[in-house]
């Protein structure tokens, strides 16, 4: 079996994001970038399954500018076998990314595609489901547990009501929740070794995919600020304020 893992480069989750003064987007210059957090879980799960002997090869793919490669290198450093970087500039909508990934799937013929459940920059939560639809594969979204069987996976999903378990045939697309596992750190020797692992570059133009934006971003603004509050001295004062000032209890 073969697993393809999709990793996206995003502003690090610890960074306090700031809106650009001209309202064209958010500030990305000189900002720390990292792999989208749940994509690390997707990589970890694929590598774990490989270590259990059920999978022969794990491939990481990213779509984005030159530097997006870093996310693939990081995946290679924790046990992924080889990487693919689809080079493209500018913002790609999830629909475009899913069409690009569809081409990569057609070329590489993986049995499973693992992805993050949501990118923490656009917060779209779409790409995995779209890819599954385009391939006519089943999907298991928001996975917090995966059991690999012969021709299927049993996946526990985090849903609003609690947990749901479904069985999806292979091939399928799985989108991962942060609770799926604990991603490992890359050791220095493995980071060095990863530099020698194959990383193929493909120009998005060569894939023949329509990536034209369908959504116009008119402006990006700061959210309204909350007016600053007060500190209360003790619990009695808190309850009094909630009762008589805020009138919420």
């Amino acid at each position: 079996m073969k697993i393809l893992v999709a990793v996206k480069r995003v502003i690090d989750y610890n960074v306090q994001v700031r809106v650009k003064e001209d309202n064209s987007g958010v500030v990305t210059e000189n900002i720390k970038m990292s792999t989208n957090p749940p994509d690390d879980n997707a990589v970890e799960e694929a590598v774990k399954i490989k270590e259990s002997g059920k999978v022969k090869e794990v491939i990481a793919v990213t779509v984005g500018e030159e530097k997006a490669q870093e996310t693939v290198r990081k995946a290679l450093a924790v046990g992924v076998d080889r990487g693919i970087h689809v080079k493209s500039e500018g913002i790609l909508e999830p629909l475009a990314v899913s069409k690009i990934l569809q081409k990569i799937v057609e070329k590489e013929k993986p049995d499973l595609v693992f992805m993050g459940k949501q990118a923490i920059d656009d917060d779209c939560n779409q790409t995995g489901q779209m890819l599954a639809a385009l391939l006519n594969w089943p999907q298991a979204t928001f996975a917090s547990k995966i059991v690999v069987k012969d021709k299927s996976l049993e996946v526990t999903r985090e849903i609003d009501e609690g947990l749901e378990t479904i069985e999806v045939n292979i091939p399928s697309v799985i989108t991962c929740d942060l609770r799926l596992n604990e991603p490992r750190y890359a050791s220095l020797p493995n980071i060095m070794k990863a530099k020698k692992k194959p990383l193929e570059q493909i120009n998005v133009a060569d894939l023949g995919v329509d990536t034209k934006p369908r959504i116009e971003q008119i402006k990006v603004e700061e959210p309204p600020k909350r007016k600053s509050g007060i500190k209360v001295a003790n619990v009695a004062e808190l309850v009094q304020k909630l009762k008589n000032e805020a009138k919420v209890i």
Partner: protein
């Protein structure tokens, strides 16, 4: 053109957020139709036909629709979509799982999690965990949109008399099967719609200590929430998580106990009307969004809080 809203329900009752989605959808176009896909869901179709903003209810019933498998729902929605300009549903785990599958097959770029309808093709949506708001215009002919339910008021559930039209079911997908749902049942109000929410974080230290929280929740008729750290540590189940990757809540009163206030947590609660923070670290970022901050050890503060509440003659429910 008309709007098609995909109803969320449990085959017996409409999920409350469907009514919030009705409000959002009818701001896109007044000609609002609702699609009920379910198993023996006649009561659901009937109750939706009484919602005043709804002009028509399309009901597709079969045992294969007992659970929300997107693979089974998608072909039905794609088929119906021919008659509509907008396909809409709630941006909760139901809609997040389903809508992109529909959107891809219709070759449209989905607009996720909108918090405002500016015009039928232009919407406001939070990005970067709510640290920025983007105004976006969809240029697709057909629009697939998920709405953040807590940003819209629920539509009145009576006053309407829409016709109910039955349509034929489709095939069951051979690609997957449903195994089980472990639903956490509680007598407390639902997190998403509760007037008061009290949440615990890593500061609670262990599952047992959530007693301190639930005792107050019972007194205030509040829902119980949690930070991701509290869920990860196993203090409480995942359905309680508030935040960027959990639920969004907008109660009249939100009480954060032993929660530091990471941006990913704030993303799920900072629109609450009144925020209280109880934390022993005076520098915790949660205080920056709190209307009332109490710098105290929660193990002292929570029992005192309950005691003070007990002294009150009346408490709003």
């Amino acid at each position: 053109m008309s709007v098609l809203l995909i109803a969320e329900h449990n085959n017996k009752e409409v999920k409350p957020f469907t009514l919030n989605a009705v409000t959002a959808a009818s701001q896109m176009d007044q000609d609002l139709h609702v699609l009920v896909i379910g198993n023996k869901a006649d009561e659901v179709a009937k109750s939706l036909s009484k919602v005043s903003n709804i002009k028509k209810v399309i009901h597709i019933d079969n045992e294969i629709y007992e659970n929300y498998l997107a693979e089974n729902f998608t072909p039905l929605i794609v088929k119906q979509s021919a008659n509509y300009s907008h396909i809409v549903c709630s941006a909760n785990t139901f809609g997040k799982n389903l809508m992109p599958r529909v959107s891809a097959l219709l070759n449209t770029s989905q607009v996720s999690d909108i918090i405002k309808v500016i015009s039928p093709d232009t919407f406001l949506r939070p990005i970067y965990a709510g640290n920025a708001f983007a105004t976006v215009k969809s240029m697709d002919q057909k629009k697939c949109i998920t709405i953040r339910p807590t940003s819209f008021d629920p539509a009145p559930s009576s006053g309407g008399s829409a016709e109910i039209v039955k349509e034929e079911p489709g095939e069951s997908s051979p690609l997957l099967k449903f195994i089980k749902k472990e639903e956490v049942k509680s007598d407390r109000p639902e997190l998403g719609t509760a007037r008061v929410v009290i949440s615990g974080g890593r500061g609670m230290q262990k599952a047992e200590n959530f007693k301190l929280i639930t005792a107050i929740a019972d007194k205030l008729n509040a829902a119980v929430g949690a930070s991701r750290a509290a869920v990860d540590a196993g203090y409480i189940t995942n359905d309680h998580q508030v935040g960027q990757t959990g639920k969004v809540v907008v109660p009249d009163l939100y009480i954060a106990v032993g929660i530091s206030g990471a941006i990913q947590h704030l993303a799920g609660m900072k629109e609450s009307k009144v925020i209280v923070a109880i934390n022993k670290d005076g520098e915790a970022p949660i205080f920056s969004v709190a209307d009332y901050g109490l710098e105290a050890d929660l193990f002292d503060a929570l029992p005192q809080f309950l005691e003070e509440l007990n002294k009150l003659n009346t408490i709003q429910k």
